[in-house]
Symmetry: C2
Subunit: 302 residues, 2 copies
């Protein structure tokens, strides 16, 4: 049992009104892999430059992330920098340098191709589709996406939606994808585009899971201090898919729990910059917060 994860691996520089950190580990595949590692072994597919710090390779390995699918190319690693306002829902991208990522063509090592469970982290739908063509017998495919692809790559995204089992995206992206102001209508409309399940992430408002005859509303963990929201969505997707992989079940009950595990790991991640918090996180911490989610959303004791 293992999970294949692809996406970006980046060195991020992030500024908040309180702190600033440079060239720390970031990227959708990095966050998703470490988050998923609390539940399952991970096969990572990605690219880094020759400047990628060895300490981050060690971090992946310590978390049981297989790096056979990690390509190291001559040149610099993908870099992103962004700034948050006091209201951490508001982020401004300061710079994006694709570097070695510009020519990335994900290539799956032969022994990765039979991995049954797949998380296509947030990269272009063209690259996500390219990964799918190399798979032998995928059982459950989760994909994340973002506003950039909704606006600039609608056709490949539409093709992708027909081939995946579950789409994870945020509130404004869901509304934008199907041009609906009502989030409920938006969720139901996205189901008609292909995926059997849709998860809409609403940040501080929790998230919604849609399926045929399925609606689940999950709360957000009530954090008073958020240090760095970067990667929360990727951690959600990683832990969500990681949990599903660990139980090898994709029914509504498993999906509901997966949504909570995704929320739990994401809520830990935003407590400090980059992946710092997840490095000391234990499975026991995860289980304890899972129980807190239960306590704060249960209203009728049995």
């Amino acid at each position: 049992m293992s999970l294949l994860i692809t996406g970006s691996i980046a060195l991020d520089s992030v500024k908040t009104p309180v702190e600033e950190h440079h060239d720390q580990l970031g990227g959708s595949a990095s966050y998703a892999s470490i988050a998923a590692s609390f539940f399952t072994p991970v096969n990572l597919v990605g690219i880094v430059g020759s400047d990628f710090p060895k300490q981050y390779l060690d971090l992946f390995r310590r978390h049981g992330v297989n790096l056979d699918g990690l390509e190291t190319a001559e040149g610099k690693t993908f870099r992103w920098s962004g700034e948050y306002e006091w209201d951490m829902n508001k982020r401004r991208t300061l710079s994006v340098c694709l570097n070695v990522f510009e020519t990335f063509q994900p290539r799956l090592p032969e022994h990765y191709r039979a991995t049954p469970y797949i998380l296509l982290g947030n990269i272009s739908p063209q690259l996500q589709l390219h990964v799918l063509t190399q798979l032998k017998a995928p059982k459950f495919i989760v994909a994340d996406t973002m506003d950039l692809w909704i606006e600039t790559a609608r056709e490949p995204l539409a093709e992708l939606l027909k081939k995946i089992h579950c789409l994870v995206l945020n509130e404004s992206e869901a509304r934008g994808l199907v041009k609906e102001t009502s989030l409920i209508k938006a969720g139901r409309k996205i189901l008609q585009l292909g995926p059997k399940y849709v998860v809409v992430k609403k940040g501080e408002h929790g998230c919604l899971l849609f399926g045929e005859n399925l609606f689940f509303s999950a709360p957000a963990y009530p954090l008073e201090d958020i240090h760095d929201p970067t990667g929360a969505g990727d951690c959600f997707a990683g832990a969500f898919t990681g949990y599903l992989t660990s139980v090898e079940r994709f029914d509504p009950d498993a999906l509901r729990k997966a949504v909570i595990y995704g929320s739990v790991v994401a809520s830990f991640n935003v407590e400090s910059f980059s992946l710092t918090r997840l490095q000391t996180l234990t499975k026991k911490d995860v289980e304890e917060r899972f129980q807190l989610f239960k306590a704060m959303s249960q209203f009728e004791m049995v």
Copy 2:
């Protein structure tokens, strides 16, 4: 066992991109009373003009609302008109004519003064305080408020907050009251202003209940078509307080259920204009939707 409710009684004219209705029953006390009537008898305190339609008096009576505290003054009933955009979260007030409400001084009939449970619907904090001075032995007082009073009547509002047990207000009002962007920090800060409990209504995102050592997150009912959001907050407050009155318990468990009952009745109310939907609503409908709330927020079956 009964519940005293005060607030405004109005004739509303509401326009949405789809429909338009004139001079229909509205006002915080009207919505709250009918919503509470599914759980408890109500003693209404309010004022109407001599033009107030008899059919609405009959509607109150049919729902077990005692009108001994309803003053009929020479002149016109309070009128409000507003318009919603396609995104029903966005409302514009077109006109407010206070009419007889301008000189309203709530006077409690002698036999109302011992009512133990109180809902101070959304009117000025000065009027809400004036009601409190006339009570003999209130056991649990819930108050609603709005941005207008937060901006223009901070001092009486601060005084009120020290005298009530539970404040109900919406998301932007909570942030504005204590000047916090984080809703979690805002909720906790409001507790320090006096009330033992705070309910923050988030519209399509559900609501949050705060107390000392208490945090509860309730989902919103996933309505695809909202016909008229007017009065949703008042229905929430009415059903919330009505349920608490009916069980005569104010502990965290009762409060959690009350939040769900508030959400249930509010979700029915927005299904049509004015109080139309509540007129045909049955207690059985309420209980059924309560169970649906449970199904859509429960993630671990026992």
